[in-house]
């Protein structure tokens, strides 16, 4: 049996899993709870601050990493779940899952680069 090339797909999935588990909850907490509830500085998410974050090349890279890996994780998990449910028409499920993740990632990259 030949060794599999699935590690490419899976390493992105595993990386996305880490982000979905650790980074996303923190971001949801900051943007959805901490700032509105006044736990952080009122202007923590102010427009000019955010613009500076997104304008910085490292900021762009980190944001793109978080978005791309989270989307990839979701796409792969969804495809595996469809497979478990017996929906095995590989190509369609694959295109739908990874396609949405891919398009959304490209959109994120375009937006990030245009700032």
């Amino acid at each position: 049996m030949a060794k599999s090339n699935k590690p490419i797909v899976w390493s992105l999935f595993a990386g996305g899993g880490m982000i979905a588990a650790f980074v996303l909850p923190a971001m949801i907490f900051i943007t959805g709870l901490a700032v509105p509830m006044g736990l952080l500085l009122e202007n923590a998410l102010a427009y000019d601050r955010m613009l500076a974050l997104v304008g910085n090349p490292i900021g762009k890279l980190v944001l793109f990493g978080v978005i791309f890996l989270s989307l990839w994780h979701a796409a792969h998990r969804l495809r595996m779940t469809l497979h478990d449910l017996g929906i095995r028409s590989g190509r369609v499920a694959m295109l739908a899952c990874y396609g949405v993740a891919g398009l959304a990632s490209i959109a994120a990259a375009v937006v990030l680069l245009s700032i």
Partner: protein, 246 residues
């Protein structure tokens, strides 16, 4: 007062007469200390001598009495009637295996998969007996001990949805056993085992449902072994891309 009784629905399949498997209901005395295997033995001894099922040790060591009990893979020697009484108990052969007769399944495919991962210590060169013991620290032992507890009961194969969908999948117990030898400090056979373990039919057919670890009666946690093998195989894969990697 009449003695309490319990109804047992057992899937029967006698290849010489049955076209398809059929359920047969037996009424057995209810005893709160009995396990399902006791009830099956009672049927065989007192009601119907034609009923076939596998068992040996009656103490969750031999791994031969695995069956589906009310739809869940369990050792029949380890499952008390009192957990079901006064409800019925439905006993079927393990899912994902062909039926040989009644509750007896054909385990040949599992045996082949088990052998395919070379579940034994492979050393780089032959060690003469005069070389003495191959010492291992308690920490070394601890790193793989849980994976040595497998009794090959095949409950994990019956629980795994991938086994049903992808019959070529090497499966939980065999992959956990491969991992057990890979982690053994006396062993040098990982490269050989990876031929199977790192293939598509190896760890990569697993979608991490985790049912194997839930049903395992020996707390082997094959799902953890498979995920650890995925990580190690991924590291191998990227290493092989490096100019100095092989």
């Amino acid at each position: 007062m009449s003695e309490p009784v319990l109804e047992l629905e057992v899937l029967r399949y006698r290849p010489e007469t049955d076209q398809d498997p059929v359920f047969q209901t037996y009424t057995v005395p209810y005893n709160s200390d009995w396990v399902v295997l006791d009830a099956l033995t009672h049927i065989k001894d007192n009601i119907d001598r034609t009923l076939s099922f596998r068992w040996s040790c009656h103490m969750a060591v031999c791994g031969s009495c695995g069956v589906m009990i009310n739809g869940e893979p369990k050792l029949s020697c380890h499952t008390f009637l009192r957990d079901y009484y006064p409800g019925k108990v439905r006993v079927e052969p393990l899912t994902n295996f062909p039926i040989e007769r009644d509750l007896v399944t054909v385990a040949d495919d599992f045996m082949e998969k088990l052998a395919s991962v070379k579940p034994y210590v492979i050393t780089e060169e032959d060690r003469p007996v005069s070389a003495g013991e191959h010492l291992q620290s308690p920490a070394d032992l601890n790193s793989f001990k849980q994976y040595t507890m497998c009794i090959n009961c095949m409950l994990c194969y019956a629980a795994c949805p991938q086994m049903g969908l992808t019959p070529d999948f090497v499966g939980p117990a065999a992959l956990a056993l491969a991992h057990r030898y890979n982690l053994d400090t006396r062993d040098a056979g990982r490269e050989e085992r990876q031929e199977i373990a790192a293939s598509n039919e190896g760890v990569w057919d697993c979608t991490f449902v985790g049912a194997c670890s839930q049903v395992c009666p020996k707390a082997v946690d094959p799902a953890a072994a498979i995920q650890q093998t995925k990580i190690a195989s991924t590291v191998d894969w990227y290493k092989a891309l490096l100019p100095w990697g092989k």
